[in-house]
Structures are given as C-alpha cells and as structure tokens.
C-alpha cells in the first residue's frame, strides 16, 4: 500500500475518534438526543474494510455507523450535522445518529432494527446481479445480530442465489450486555457460515492492516467467484453500548486490557516502523483531524434546523 493511502487511513481513524469524542460531549450537553452508539475501539474494522473496496462497492451497516460513514467519504460536517438534527446532515436531521446514509458515497445506511438490514443487503446484491455488474455489497453487523433469523435467511439466500455479498461480522464480544458465549451457540461467529457452505475467516479487528488484507482477499473472491463470504473481525467497544449504559456486565479490568490494545496506537506504531513515515507527519495528521472536528462542530452548530415543511416531505415520493 502506498504511503498516501496509509496516511489517509490513519487520518480517518483519528477523525472518527475525535468526532465521536466531541459527539459524546455534545450528547452530555443535551445537543444530541436519542440513542447514540459510539464506534470508539472498533475504528480499525471499517477503516481497513472500506479502504479495500472500490467506490462502486456498496456498504450497508447497523446503527453504530458514524465511523463507517466517515470511511465511506461522508464529511465530518455532515455526520456532525446529522447528530445535531440539522438539515445539512446526511439525512436532513430526520435520521439521527443511527441513520446516516449517502447514496452518492454508496453508503446505504445505518439501520437500527438488529439484523434487519441483512436481507436488504442481499437485495442490493440481487439488484447488481440482475443488472449484470460485478459490484460487491459489503454488509456489516454485530455479533448479536447473528442470533436473529434475518441473519440466517440472508446468508442462505446469498449462497443459494450466488450473490456478491461480503458479510462482515464485527464481533465486539457483546450485544448490549450479553456476551457472545451467553447468546450464541458457537463463539466463533464465522462457524455459522459453515452451515451454508460459505467460505469464511476470522481476522484481528484491532489491526487495520490485517483487516485491510483480509477484506481485499475476500472482496476479490466475492467479485471473481460470484459467491458470498463471511469475514469475522474480532474487536471491542471501549465505551458503553450506547450513551448511559451502566456496564454491569463487564469488568473494568477487561475494558482496560482492550483499551491498552488501541487500534489507533497499534497502527501508529506500525506506521512508525516504516522508513518513510515520521512521527511529525502523524502528529500533523492528528492535528488536522482535531481541526476538522472543530470545524464540523462549528458547521453543525451554525446549520439551520429542518423547516416544518420537512416533517411532511418524503413520506411518499410525490411529497
């Protein structure tokens, strides 16, 4: 991978982190409402994954979507504006944290019914197959989502119909407060693909370069073989499930252990081992991410609320 791409990935990871940290502050200040699920700790997964796609490859994910949105090229401004419910947000302030999308960036939404977007992902791929192109649909979801029927129905049709879907399970070890062991018959989610005869693998989701390599191979396979593939990324969310999680289900020691394994720190160390990248360059990128986050907050705060006419718009196409 060339230097420019590596530095871009670093920038995105830091930007996601900063945007979400500011988001958490704005939530505490009452400027963001509803449910907000932070991606902090998991940034390597979507960053590595999306870096491996072609722009024509589609992306669809669950409600933990701020990071994916940024990786897909949605600006921090639009993400922040959506969080604040402003008309300049990705969804005109009508979707909020859980519902970021940009058809232009081939990002088909954050979806908040657990597992509900998996059959829709199969449909995106069916649409591409029908239209005779070889776009790949990348569908991300949590470990918890693999216990609901939607997952199994979607995997089955994707295999039966030879759909180009890369199923990516972000196994962050918990669905809300329920650990994988307490909710899933198998603790390696990738095993679930076996029952459908689907190729699969597991990758360290804290290592963005490992994710990138695994995703690259998987996408190539899906595209060339016209078959789905299940990639499991093992990761961890550093914060609560959503804002205001009492976190009675896990120990501080466990959280600390994972935080010491910070994907941004790991990537920084890996980059510094490269001869052509300096600490000063990375510091400069961090400062830029910080500044862009500040600009995004200012943009969002200054943006107008959606007008009352928006309330009745888009219920139907003709509105």
């Amino acid at each position: 991978m060339d230097k420019e791409k590596l530095l871009q990935m670093y920038y995105e990871m830091v930007l996601i982190r900063r945007v979400e940290e500011r988001g958490a502050e704005l939530y505490q200040a009452g400027k963001i409402g509803g449910f907000m699920h932070l991606y902090i700790g998991q940034e390597a997964v979507s960053t590595g994954l999306i870096a491996a796609r072609e722009p024509r490859d589609r992306v669809i994910t669950a409600y933990r979507d701020h990071g994916v949105a940024i990786n897909c090229g949605i600006s921090a401004n639009e993400v922040m504006a959506e969080l604040l419910g402003k008309v300049t947000g990705t969804s005109k302030g009508k979707g909020g944290s859980m519902h970021m999308a940009s058809v232009e960036k081939n990002m088909w939404g954050g979806h908040a019914i657990v597992g509900g977007h998996l059959p829709i992902a199969a449909g995106l791929a069916l649409g591409d197959q029908y239209q005779g192109n070889d776009n790949v649909t990348i569908c991300m979801f949590g470990d918890g989502a693999t216990n609901i029927g939607y997952f199994h129905e979607a995997l089955n049709v994707s295999m039966t119909w030879n759909l180009r879907v890369l199923w990516v399970c972000e196994n962050n070890q918990y669905g809300m407060g329920t650990s994988v062991e307490r909710a899933s018959a198998v603790s390696e989610i990738r095993q679930k693909a076996e029952g459908y005869g689907m190729k699969n693998s597991r990758v360290d989701g804290m290592d963005v370069l490992a994710v990138y390599e695994a995703a690259k191979q998987a996408i190539d396979y899906v595209r060339s073989e016209s078959k789905p593939y299940l990639l499991e990324a093992v990761t961890y969310r550093f914060r609560g499930h959503s804002m205001g999680d009492p976190e009675r289900y896990r120990s501080q020691d466990e959280v600390k252990k994972w935080q010491d394994n910070d994907p941004i720190g790991i990537f920084r160390a890996a980059l510094l081992k490269k001869k052509n990248i300096t600490a000063a360059e990375l510091d400069e990128i961090e400062a830029r991410a910080e500044a862009d986050t500040q600009k995004a907050v200012e943009f969002a705060e200054a943006s107008p609320e959606p007008g009352m006419e928006e309330l009745f718009k888009d219920v139907y196409v003709e509105d």
Partner: protein, 324 residues
Amino acid sequence: MPRITMREAISQALWEEMERDPAVFILGEEVGVWGGTYAVTKGFYDHFGPQRVKDTPIAENAILGAAIGAAMVGLRPVAELMTINFAFSAMDYVVNQAPKLRYMFGGQFRIPLVIRAVGGGGRQLGATHSQTPDAVFAHFPGLKVVSPGTPEDAKGLLKTAIRSDDPVLFIEHATMYQVRGEVPEGEYLIPIGQSKVQRPGRDVTIVTYAKGLELSLKAADELAKEGIEVEIVDLRTLRPLDMGPVLESFKKTNRAVIVEEGWRSYGVGAEVAARIYEEAFDYADAPILRVAQKEVPLPYNRTLEQAALPQVPDITAAVKEVLK
C-alpha cells in the same frame, strides 16, 4: 397510600407474582444481568436466578415462540420486548399464533402469556423506534391489549394479566416510567377490560389512555382555569374495549374528544368514535374530534418530532372546538 413511580409499580407487580407463583418467569433481552433496559427488572436476576429471569439472544421470534410453547405446557411466561417496534420482527407470534392457537384447536390449549412491550415516541429515536402502534394489535381477536396510564392501574392490571389464562399484550410508555401516583397498600387486582373515569366533569368527554391520559390531565387543568370542566375516561384496556363509562359520560356531556398518541387513521379514536355514533348518536351535540399523531413516520429532529406528536394545546383546542 404509598406514592410510587410507574417503573416501581410494574416492577412490584412482577415481583409479587413471581413470589406467589413459581410458574411465572421472565424472558427477554437484557432482562437479567443488565436489569432491564428500562431498569424494571433491576435486582430480579440476583433474587430469582437465571432460570426465572432468562436473558435471551436478540431473537424476538425465539422469545415469543418459546414463551407460547412454555405457556401451552403450563408455565406463565412474561416475555419482554425491549420495544414494541420489535414486535414487528416477530409479528407472526404476536398476532397470528398466540391469539389463535386456542381457538383453532377447539379450546384444547391455554396460553397464559404476557408480552410486555415498551412503546411511544418523543425520545428522538427515529422512525423505526418511536411508534405507538397499539391499535394494530387491538385489531386481533384472541389477544387482550392493555395500556395503563397510572401506576395504580399498571400494577393492578399487570398482576391480572399474569394471572390471565389468555395472551395479554401489556404496553408501557417509554416516557412514563417516572410518572408518580398513589397505589393501594397491599395486594390488589384491577380487571382487564374496564374503562375508568379518571377525572369527573360536565362539559366535554375526553376518551384516552396511557400517554394521552397524562396529556389530557394537563389539558383539563388548563381548561378548568377557563371554567371548562372535562370528564376524562381512561380506556386502560384496548381489547376487550369497555364502552360503558364512555357512553355514560357522553350521554351527559354530549361532546367528545378522543386523544391518542398513535396515528389518527384507523386508530383507537376511529374505533371509539364509531362506537359512540353507533350507540349514542342521538346524544351528539357536535362532531366527535380526534387528537392524534400527524400522519408521518417520526423524525429524529426534536422540534419536528414534537410537532408530529399530539400536545396539550392540541387537546385544549379540540375541546373548545367541540364546545362551539
């Protein structure tokens, strides 16, 4: 009489019924270790143990299907849906299995099942997570649908629901857990299928339930300052619907406003208005009005969401309109 919150009332009902009957058990997402997403079952897991407070995977069909099966062989499951919106992921069990199995098999089974579900808008959760689809469920014979508006009713009705031999959908409103009210000392039950006058008045009848009750009581206070005395009839149960107190009140006031949080079209108000017209047409002095949610999915933006939901001024305006 002790004053407790809606949350405490529901929690007490569950606790008392579990102490009373070992066949009662709870299952659902995050009901155990977490203590319930809305903290209703906090402390239950430690006291009753993992078998009676059963954490489940995110699998609404498995939760409800298994609850129905367990009920058929003699248990009394209280299945919790984290929100009523997730009932749509398992709609078959809620409306197509639980309400029909007994009838279809000639009365051979009993299905003593309670489905607790949290509904309602106003929390900026976006379109799929903010619904008040109570009327949808009330459409189906074989299912009882209860939705209380006070802690007293919540406790008494939930205890009855747990003892009911038929499936009951018990709908709680997400923004009402902190509502306080007096509850009777000691054990009491409130029958399912009885409406109740929550505030007497002579001028206009307001028919409502759940969140609508909270809003209507506020509207009534404001109207009283202008000398308008509304009578509020709380349905409490949507199916079977008890029209007795509604008709009695309407025959006295000759005017009615129906307040519900769900959408107006095909809603609770439509049913209640039709029944009033059918049974007390001659008493009407003005067309019955409905106050309900605007016909849009709920948006995230707070201002827009509040504009879509029924508010106190909508109720006072409707009351004045029927008085014209």
